[in-house]
Subunit: 255 residues, 4 copies
């Protein structure tokens, strides 16, 4: 069970809603993923314009917890403004803090992310900052009181997977709050790896929406997150340099 | 659908039966894995001694295709002798050729593996050789007419996972017969990686039987093989150096 | 030529002076390394106590630029105090900012590192902050006006080498000031890798002082830094999936 | 000192002579590399046609040991024929056995390589087979009596570097004869890594001849091989998960 603030989720896969080929494929992908948390860029949603088509109208919003993000913000102030817009819609009180510091890498700005998180906590939001895998920055965010930390695996949409398993595992080890690996996931194996490191969940978008078959990939990701979680809980065998027979021959009566 | 010789399988996970804590755990692990192929060392099975307890008695053998292996053989001749013993039991006509060249690494002897495979094909067996990830050796085995190739990911029981994804992918690319990644798997992510490379299946044993909770790990492996296969079929996004926004801001009417 | 602030160095290897077996080995290692920058913890040096033995007395200090570090500081204020102590000795005006946020990983505290750097720049120091490989934090430090950035390869003394080559290369790509890879180097190959990524230098200590033969390892590191730098300048071949004959046979008149 | 059969070499870098931009660059690269062993494809050399220009005429052949290779051979018989041609020139009695099994990967054919090696040993050659990193195949070759084993790091000319450090280190561990890592080297760091694994030497060609500046890259490779060798001999520090202070603060009298 994944607990974020007051909410509990059976699913540990958080799904972004950007860039699907069309609403139908998106809805099918969301369905088979069995996600319970949908994230989206507030600034891309016409949540105040009922005349505009909108993905949120296509789905049964009551079935999902919505996690709007502040994509587009370069400063804490803008991020807070976007978050308030989202909350004003009445649809959500969780916010993914996303303050980008560089348009080429879309990596988060650590200082503005910290500031935005602090400001949003004061406003009563359930705050989930997207951050780098800087271990001490994650600690700072936790000390502020954020409700989950979302370190990136690699740059957004890059599909590079988990570049730095060491830092992710150090963040997980130190955290008392959920750690959701966010950004950079490319394939199911990346999801499984994140979960085997002990992550509490995975957030991804492009890896599904940009796949040749987004619906099948959504299924693959769902299964991979479960596989990785069970694998983590089941306690894997140690890595060894040399072999160990699975069918040892010692002490056998041989023909 | 995985086809090996005349047989078809829904499951792409082949499970070894060695070194489980006890028969009950083993049976539960086999059940949740949903495997359809069980492999075991002929020399460890008392298949001709009905008075001895035996795992094969505990399960409904009719539900599984049995894949005995020739573990313990250091030469082609011994491997053939073991294979014939297994066939004489009437339980199976598939054989996993396993001719070990070194007790420390348990890596296969390429020449004896080739010879044993050739001899067993002449005897009418369905032949699945366990081999190294040598690309040309895999080609030689296929040219002989074996029914599947089983390159190792890393030394048996080492849990090191896929050390050489390049060779595995080259073997998969050239093969017209099934490629089952065998040996060295440590965790669900390893399974997913193998399947994403395009493997037709995964054979593992210690990663499940040696886990702290073998039954949960069997479930994890089942899910990971499925996740990796669906991921392969779904067509993953390319890896890129730089980021790509999942929520692009271009062309938006912003507040 | 490595330029840091007003100083120029032929050597791109910066060497730490901690934990050598004895002063004689240390001196020999420093000699063969051909380093021109020696770093040391101010708090470990008895620079104000002439009665105490001290490594700095053993060497010809005029031959080296000294780079004291603020190890032991957990806050910007303490770091600044340590830096001023060092400067007061008259031996140096460069300072390696080292503000540790966690005793287990010895990873730097990003906020205090930023603050300390800002304060020390105002005091007129040549400032080289030891930082994580967070790309945006490195940018923030550069924007402050620091004279070089020193991102860690992995935790201090861990010997894990370069865990995240992506982030290091992004930092190098964006920087207009020297990037010195600091901390975590384990072997010559790690040095070569750092330099091939385009780093301007490498700072290491334990990899030499903790080697079985520190003097020989100092020589190895010197050569590796040069090899990596020349390799970077020489322009390596691209990585390709398939082979390319070095002795192509096309168009040949064959026997 | 590298000993191959009756020969001793100070340099552990073996250099191929294919595909340099021109003879002048090639000669300069050979010079700065300080190699003592030059390898070349017999079939590309017009060693019997004095009217044709030929790299071997440009250099002082007496300074180098020549290591012709059998590139172009797909069978043992052709390899032996090529080797005899080379020997008949009176220039060399060493031969690099290169029997390629696949034109796309240029990976060696294990069976023909074994056969060719056996035949050439009977003919009195100093035999250095280029082989895959199959551990047991390397053992077979050593058992035949070859004078060095040359496992590939990755496909020829691919620049992928050392894909499987495990197999290389297992080959090195078991071998009583020199192990020269051959093929796939892309950069100085790859050389250093090979040598740190304990290899006795490195053979490369495209990484130098195909570099933007082949002469500078030749120098880089020379330094990297030395760095890696010294690093191996010097005994590196172990890899650890957590940090170790190079400037420990325990027991210090602090200000």
């Amino acid at each position: 069970m994944l607990k974020i603030g007051p909410y509990e989720f059976q699913s540990r896969l958080l799904l972004g809603t950007g860039k699907f080929p069309n609403y139908k494929v998106q809805k099918m992908a969301v369905d088979v993923s069995e996600t319970q948390v949908l994230t989206f860029a507030v600034r891309r949603m016409n949540i105040f314009e009922p005349s505009q088509p909108n993905f949120l109208e296509m789905i049964d919003v009551s079935r999902y917890k919505l996690l709007p993000n502040t994509a587009g913000a370069k400063t804490a102030e803008v991020a807070v403004r976007i978050a308030k817009l989202a909350k004003a819609s009445g649809l959500c009180d969780m916010i993914k803090v996303e303050v980008i510091g560089d348009p080429k890498t879309l990596l988060p700005d650590p200082i503005e992310t910290l500031r935005a998180s602090e400001m949003l906590l004061r406003e009563g939001f359930i705050v989930l900052p997207y951050t780098s895998d800087d271990v001490l920055l994650a600690k700072r965010l936790e000390d502020l009181g954020v409700h989950a930390i979302m370190p990136g695996a690699s740059p957004i949409g890059s599909g590079q997977g988990i570049v730095n398993p060491l830092n992710l595992s150090l963040i997980i080890e130190q955290a008392q709050i959920p750690v959701i690996v966010d950004a950079g996931i490319g394939s199911p194996a990346d999801c499984a790896t994140a979960m085997e490191l002990g992550a509490d969940g995975v957030l991804l978008n492009t890896a599904v929406s940009g796949a040749a078959d987004p619906v099948k990939m959504a299924l693959a990701m769902k299964l991979a997150v479960e596989a990785g979680r069970y694998g983590y809980e089941a306690g894997r065998i140690p890595r060894k340099r040399y072999a160990t027979a699975s069918s040892p021959m010692e002490g056998m009566i041989t023909s």
